[in-house]
Amino acid sequence: MEKENLMIDYKHRQAGHCESGATSNLFNFHGVELSEPMAFGIGNGLYFSYLPFLKLQFAPMTSFRNLPNTVFHRSMKYLEVDSQVIKKFKDPKESMAALDRNLEKGIPTGMQVGVFNLTFFPPEYRMHYNMHNMVAYGKEGNDYWISDTVMEHPQKITSEDLQRVRWAKGAFAPKGKMYWINTIHKDLDIRSAVEKGIKKTVYEMIKVPFPLIGVKGIHWLAKDIKKWQKKHGNETASFYLGSIIRMSEDYGTGGAGFRYIYGAFLKEAGEKFNNPDLLAASNLMGKAANRWREFSYLGARNCKNRSKPEEDYGKLGDMLHEIADMEKAVYVKLDKIKI
């Protein structure tokens, strides 16, 4: 039996980051109050990697976030919630039928999509980026109701368009991936989940034995920035610098490459468990985040005058070294904390 109009009572809230916003909204739908920073921190979305041998939009790849679906997957694992992820489908029609079945059961369903053909998305962000997340929560004739946390209000999309974005091609192709929460028991052990989340983030930022990931990656990037002007010339150097700023500020990070969101998470956890060490760490994180903002503010001036850089690339590199040390102090502090 097919119903014409389906509408689940799902509350859309805007968020800084697509995946943690979707995760926190799904939690709220199931009756557990979990803010966006909390979902982000527990699912350890914070990351840094600098991969100069991979080119993204013609510039060396810098990433401030973890791999797609980490936030949802890890927050489910650490909070021990009964959830389900279907990684890929064989057939596009099958994936749409599975979505319809879920909506008929009254389950809002998260999906991984590509943004290049997403009709309601802000046009300035429409690149070949296949790691965007949004939640479908209703159907009206041929249209679906979508809660996309980047947008201020819920959006509508036709069935054909939705199928196209769910089957976007290229790197990290979503292949119709979808995920949802089955049931939640009310007394979640948030304390141990926060501890596990922080431990994992600390591991990823300072303990991974590879020089391009975490704090070591920021140092490596700082060294490279100093060389760019001599190696590539002013135009390319400013373009590369611009790509870092775009990654950290523009593409749905909530500001300063997720550092503000993580600081807010530490603050909220500190207030919840009455832990002064966590509050101190959140203050330090906020300072590091402000420094990131200054870096992008100064860097943007080089992007404005491309042939005549206003700021010295050496100075920008020193600034990044300083930021890396500031962040390291936070992670070392977090490593010793007992929650």
């Binding site: 805007q14 700023i245 503000y260 603050k267 985040a289 503010y297």
Partner: protein, 166 residues
Amino acid sequence: MSKSLYICIYDLTGISNFANFAFYNPLKFNLKLFPMEEESNPVFKNQAYGQHRELLYSQYADGKFEMNIGYHGESDRIPLQQGWDMVNERIEVARLKVKAGEASPISYYMEKLMVTPLDLSLHSGIMVWRVKRHLKPKVFNRLSEKTLKKYAEAFNITIDQLKYIE
């Protein structure tokens, strides 16, 4: 005293409450440390860009984190426009090359779709070495209808549009 030095002092004093500090700050119109703006910035060359409000975080002096809904500041928008400038420049170069008969229309549409030959082979289902070969006009002119149709589907255009660009 340079502008950046002002920012350093601003940071050292720890007075991050923007509302208070803007009162004393001689550079208050230049200092866009916090990204939120009431109105959209006229940085973008395309009118349709930058019309959506987003949620942004910031930290204040007492360590409080705030969420604001608004537009990005100018310093965030300049690098994004720079990225689009790069894309548009590449499209224009490719278009002129096709007009001069140095490259096939596939190279123009490839720039327009913002893909490399490797991506295009994933989109169209044609092998990479064949895609690279088809960038030559001589080879392109001999292509079969079947292959042209595959490209046209990947670019989401008709075969006529693929053959003759504006």
